[in-house]
Subunit: 108 residues, 2 copies
DNA sequence: GCTATATTCAACCATATAGTTGAATATATA
DNA sequence: TATATATTCAACTATATGGTTGAATATAGC
């Protein structure tokens, strides 16, 4: 009865947390190690590590080992999936905004 | 320390539930009453009503009373906000896909 | 091999969330 | 006004989530 798409559950759930969104923001320009990321938050290392696991399950980030560190980078998979989902609704709200602009336009 | 944006918390939290995404899908072509929506789910009326409250707080839907019914329709506000957020990352994953296409292209 | 550094795992706790049931409210109609 | 229909509210329950602490694992370097 419900179009059940577990991947969207996990992706949107991941995006619903401000610390996780902040991690994504930091990863935008470049990859970071887990430790580098952890420094910026008033949380335990373990808590940040768990946030990264959540982001990884959602395929919003990827990790790869580099010596004793783990390098974390953005992954386009999850972000693309979320974006594709919202694209279904994009026409709707763009058209509403168009109508608003039309309404605000003085004349012609 | 964290770019805290409560509206995105609420919007993505709303989108993380399959029943709520299904409700949005049903509202795409036209508005529905709460009762019409509730019919489609194996949940109590109250449960569906609560899902709608969550969607409303996220400004993903709007309700307006019409006699003893409540008409529910999509609201562009929340959807637009989520879409704008993801747009920051769109370049990233589109460029990754471009690179993939480039890689797959036979030659030239 | 021993020790330090980087990260994860396991167990636990508090709070939030999705669901229920039954009562309350709002409106339409006889 | 009384009754039926549509919806929400309140109280409660079970499970999920975000956090902690302390132990475990993996790798680097002496």
């Amino acid at each position: 009865m419900v179009e059940y798409s577990k991947d969207l559950d996990v992706i949107f759930q991941s995006l619903a947390d401000p610390t996780r969104r902040d991690i994504l923001r930091r990863l935008r320009p470049r990859e970071h190690t887990v430790g580098e990321l952890a420094q910026h938050y008033d949380l335990t290392f373990a808590a940040v590590s768990k946030h990264l696991q959540v982001l990884e399950r959602a395929r919003l980030v990827r990790k790869r080992r580099s010596g004793r560190e783990q390098k974390v980078e953005l992954s386009p998979a999850g972000l693309g999936r979320a974006d594709t989902y919202l694209a279904q609704y994009r026409i709707l709200w763009e058209e509403k905004i168009d109508r608003l602009e039309e309404f605000l336009k003085p004349n012609k």
